[in-house]
């Protein structure tokens, strides 16, 4: 692997980065990993001092900044005046990890489709994404290594490598280059440090199980699992609570509703996160449901991740972040489902 060729690796001290973040805060809203109610979340910070140093997987992914839980997409009046609402502000998203960077790629492609989604795309255009690479698997629930999402190619503007006392960084595009010149300054480059990081990362991930068996053929494998017993087995435990979808960094289904104000003179059209695991997601106006059974809903969701969307995005739409595994009280895991489907493992 000659990854270092033609790739500049600049360095910046940790203190230098904190100062750079405080400088960014004069021009941008900055969202980063921070503590909130004894928990670690991605949220807006007022100063670099609020940023958590130790990475811990968050409950929600950073997709919430580009695809909010609830968003006004237009306003209307009783007289018939309709105004499209597209809101975005200059924002830096600091410190997102490879799983979430790969998830963002799926989201970017989905929302750019056809004419593109103005609300999502304006937020992306107005943002600078600074990723931090992972040197090892973050916890026992994450399984990025099974879908190769510990590797970052694109999806962020700048990527940092944590070397303890300093970061090595590379920019991924022109936007990242200009940003780095303006805020990070030039503190020389260090290819040796990057090589050392990469070696340690390869060694750490080399100890994992590696990618799923037949990873690139999963869409075809899933195509033939309509009657697999696993769907009924998982449905027995599944609470259909939708938690897996709320926390998923690549789920982008939404509901659209008109909310007239109580004065009945004006209203808003809102879009909100929806979830295909919920019982009325596939209800239609005449009262039928396309996926009344929980087993159908689980099968559909897994096919979205490893079949339907994988064909479209040429990568699994599951990035193995492990958020749904952590959130599921019934211990349902996409990792385990894929392993059983491919015959790699048997149900314990």
């Amino acid at each position: 692997m000659n990854k270092t060729i033609n790739r500049p690796f600049f360095q910046i001290t940790k203190d230098g980065m904190l100062a750079a973040i405080d400088k960014m805060l004069q021009d941008y809203s900055v969202a980063a990993l921070t503590e909130k109610n004894k928990n670690v979340v991605f949220d807006f910070v007022k100063s670099s001092a609020e940023i958590s140093n130790v990475y811990k997987p968050t409950i929600l992914s950073p997709k919430k900044f580009f695809f909010p839980q609830e968003e006004v997409i237009l306003e209307y009046t009783a007289e018939g005046k309709v105004t499209a609402i597209i809101e975005s502000k200059p924002m830096v998203l600091f410190g997102i990890r490879p799983c979430d960077i790969n998830a963002k790629k799926v989201m970017d492609e989905a929302f750019a489709e056809s004419n593109g989604d103005a609300n999502y795309l304006s937020k992306i255009e107005n943002s600078v994404i600074i990723g931090i690479d992972c040197k090892q698997v973050c916890d026992e629930d994450s399984f990025c290594y099974r879908v190769n999402s510990q590797e970052v190619t694109t999806g962020c503007d700048i990527l940092l490598y944590d070397l303890g006392e300093k970061y090595i960084f590379e920019y991924k595009n022109e936007k990242g280059r200009e940003f780095a010149i303006k805020y990070f300054g030039s503190q020389g480059s260090d290819h040796g440090a990057y090589d050392k990081f990469l070696k340690e990362k390869e060694s750490n991930f080399g100890k994992t199980e590696g990618p799923f068996k037949d990873l690139e053929y999963l869409p075809g494998v899933f195509e033939h699992t309509k009657d697999h017993p696993i769907w009924e087995e998982e449905a027995k435990r599944c609470l259909s609570c939708g938690s897996c979808i709320m926390v998923c960094p690549t789920c982008y289904c939404f509901d659209v509703a008109d909310e007239l104000a109580l004065n009945l003179k004006e209203g808003q059209r809102l879009r909100r996160w929806d979830a295909c695991m919920l019982s009325d997601f596939a209800n239609v106006a005449t009262g039928e449901s396309f996926r009344k059974e929980v087993s159908n809903r689980i099968r559909h969701r897994m096919n979205r991740k490893f079949n339907f969307l994988m064909r479209k995005h040429h990568q699994p739409a599951c990035v193995g972040c492990g958020r749904c595994v952590r959130a599921c009280l019934a211990d349902i895991s996409p990792k385990e489902i894929v392993e059983i489907i491919t015959g790699e493992k048997e149900r314990e």
Binding site: N39, G242, S243, A327
Partner: protein, 251 residues
Amino acid sequence: MPKPKVAFFDFTCCEGCQLCALDLTAEQLLDLLAVIDIVEFREAISEKSDSFDIAIVEGSITRDSDIPRLEKIRKTANLLICLGSCSCIVGINALKNFQKTEELQNEVYPDAPHRYETSVARAVDEIVKVDAIIPGCPINTLEFVKVVKNLVLGKDPDIPTYPVCIECKKKENICVYEKGIHCLGPVIRAGCGAICPEKGGYCFGCRGLVPDPNLDSMREIMNKYNMPYDQIDDRFKLFLGRNKEIFQDVQ
């Protein structure tokens, strides 16, 4: 369009949900009164009326003598809305159904048990047709406004059918099970904003079950998190004692 006339009535309850219905800002209250006329509401006005379009009924039906009054309300109203757990699902009033009626009468009025008329505590929809529910103990005031507004507009009341977990996850609350606390959130209808788990408690189930709950799995999970099955029953009993899916053998 003439404003619909709205009347509030209460049966067995604390009347707290009616107070919650008034817990609005001045602007919200004025906006609400621009849309409806309140013609009877004993916690807010002295007037009474036999003519109304929408009846908002709080409380459980615990005496047979309540039934004709409820039936008369139903007959007069075009729409009947249940307000609060007591009227929607019976809630804590159903605890008495687990005891014999004579025992209760003797316990409450030991000197004159016959003076205490009581029967099985029932939800309003066990007696008459109900058009919409606003569940909760107490109700969520903003949900009350939304349901009334939607009904006035001729729309579906539109209360959540998804569970409390959705609201906890959206708020990035740490799951209370991780803190060793047992919560009914996965099978209970959202709409409260997950206020109890968020504030350090757990979901008691006051808003009733979601439409299609997986109760077997819920019980197994609570047991897996070290709660004995009899205690799990007690958890369900507090607000869901009238639920026939959970408690089949109760009167």
